[in-house]
Structure formats: structure tokens, C-alpha cells
Symmetry: C2
Subunit: 182 residues, 2 copies
């Protein structure tokens, strides 16, 4: 029995580590892409989303969004994101007429990755951009449009919860959903 009790806490640590332990950075301040983000909680996927002034893409991307489990569980309780939240936006190319799919679109390879991190020790929310296949991402300067657009239009704390259908009612019930967003 003693052995079981000794192994079980180690197993727990391993399971919790898989759920993400907050953002990790290189010595140069680059963000490390979480190796296991595809096992995180999926929030939603759009296809070919464009914002005002964008032109519709000829070959649209799927936009998959994942969040670390700890931040997700905190959001379910509070309707807001805790410090160290990591949201991964994975852009995937799309195809039609793949295998027996005749119309519509399916997901193929990764076209790019962006990560949105809430880290009070580094000045709050920040975006990091990853080149295709890269495991380290560079800080996107805080003067870029993405910051002002998320600040103005994000339904909860600069994030686009209006596009995450399972979280909308939670945020509304907790009073954290910004007025004016449907």
C-alpha cells in the first residue's frame, strides 16, 4: 500500500503538468510554444474569419483556439481569466474534396500560430507570433492593431469570448461579458 501512496502523488504531478504550468520563456524572452497544447481545452474554431478592412481569403484558414486547463477551470468558476492564462490560436489550412468529403472544408496542416498570454510579471496580456514550425515565438509590439482591437472588441478582458460558445453564458452569468457584444 505504501508504494501506491508514493506513486500516486507523482502521477498527479505528471497529469497536472500536462494541463500546462503557465507560460514558459526562453532566456531571451521568447515564448515557448506549449508542446501539448493540442491536449488543452478546445474553445472553438472559425473558418475564414475576417475583420473590417480585411479582404476575404481565397483559401480560408480554420482558426482553432485552445486554452490551458487551469485557466479554463478558473473561468468556469469566475467568468474571467486568471494570471498565467495561455490561449493558443492555431491557424490551419483548409481543403475541400479530400477523401470522401465533396463540399465544405476540412482542416489540413498548420499555417501559423499565435499565443495570447496573461502574465502580470511581464506587463499583462501580450501576443506572441510563431513562424510556421517554430517552437519559440516573438513578442508582437504593443503598438500593433491586435492589442487595440482586442481591447475594444473582446467581450471578456480583451479576449473574444463572444466566439467561444461554451463560455458566453458563463461570462454573462458572472457579469464579466462586456455590454454591446451580442
Amino acid at each position: 500500500m505504501k508504494r501506491v501512496f508514493l506513486i500516486a502523488p507523482l502521477l498527479c504531478v505528471a497529469l497536472l503538468a500536462q494541463s500546462g504550468g503557465g507560460p514558459q520563456y526562453s532566456r531571451e524572452g521568447k515564448l515557448l510554444l506549449p508542446a501539448d497544447y493540442r491536449e488543452w481545452v478546445f474553445l472553438s474554431s472559425g473558418l475564414g474569419m475576417t475583420y473590417p478592412n480585411d479582404r476575404p481569403p481565397a483559401n480560408p484558414f480554420f482558426e482553432n483556439v485552445f486554452v490551458d486547463s487551469a485557466a479554463y477551470r478558473a473561468f468556469l468558476k469566475s467568468g474571467s481569466w486568471p494570471d498565467k492564462t495561455v490561449l493558443v490560436l492555431e491557424l490551419r489550412n483548409s481543403e475541400t474534396k479530400l477523401s470522401i468529403n465533396k463540399d465544405g472544408r476540412v482542416q489540413t496542416d498548420v499555417a501559423g500560430t499565435e499565443v495570447h498570454v496573461k502574465d502580470a510579471s511581464r506587463g499583462g496580456w501580450a501576443f506572441y507570433g510563431f513562424a510556421k514550425g517554430a517552437t519559440e515565438g516573438s513578442l508582437i509590439p504593443k503598438t500593433e492593431n491586435c492589442y487595440s482591437c482586442h481591447g475594444q472588441n473582446g467581450a471578456v478582458d480583451t479576449t473574444f469570448v463572444q466566439f467561444y460558445p461554451t463560455l458566453i453564458e458563463i461570462a454573462r452569468s458572472k457579469g464579466t461579458f462586456k455590454d454591446g457584444e451580442k
Copy 2:
């Protein structure tokens, strides 16, 4: 310390239960919808996929597919699905022009759910259909087209791994990907 060792195994059980403990049925043999499937591993999402003889839908669904963590981890090692695998297909309605999205489509409410279960104790793979909002699903008769279509066209063991981009190379490397599928 004793208390820590006693609590830790209980915590582990709770964490493992969240990852799905295989299919659960009612006394009448209906499949219970896993309450936490949105926290399972996301495999992919298509939009408006149609098969031969289908007509393209006017308002296409997103097709989100989730698998329980235990089956996912087994697949990473073997390229095949273990007994008790549960795959959830969640159909979501889509909208355009929601919030600041101008083109493309985003996901909204659940339109329907289907679950694909591998359970040797009940004759192998089976599909269960859930009415909108239902928590119990009925067995889809094995004479229905979905069984023969999945059997003929599923790249791995009657499942459409050809549409799950993170699993394709794993199945190929393990030799479980059916020839003839791209």
C-alpha cells in the same frame, strides 16, 4: 504527510475520471452523453462537409470531433483505438457577421450530437444519436449507411482519421492507415 498521501490518490481518481472512464449506459442500454466531453482531446473540425449524394447545406454545420484522453494516448502509441474508445461528433450551427467577424463563419449553438463507441462487450463499434439537448442517445441500427460508409472509407478501424490532421502521420508510421486514402 499521511493525509497528503491519502488525498493524492483521490485527486488522481478525480482527474482520471474527467478524462473519461469508457462508455456509460443507462439500464435500458442508452448511451449517456459524457458530461465533460468538451474537455476531451479535440481532433478536428470541418465545416459543411458532405458526402456523395448529399446536397450542400444552406447553413452549414461545424463538425467538432473529441476523443477521450485514454483512447487518444493509446492511439499515439499504437496508431489504433483501444476497446472503450469514445468519439464525440458535435454539430454546431454557424453564423457569419457575428460581432466584428465580417466574412467567414463562426460556431454558435449545438445542433446535434453523435457518438461512436468501440465496446467489445456490446459487439464492437456502434453509433448513438442524441436529439438536441438530450443526455441519452439511442443506438443507430447497424443496418444504417453510416456503418458501411465508415467501414469502407474510414482510414483507421472504421474511423475518419484522414480528417484528423494530428493523427494521420502517427497512423501511417504505425502501419494502421488504410491504403487508398490520401
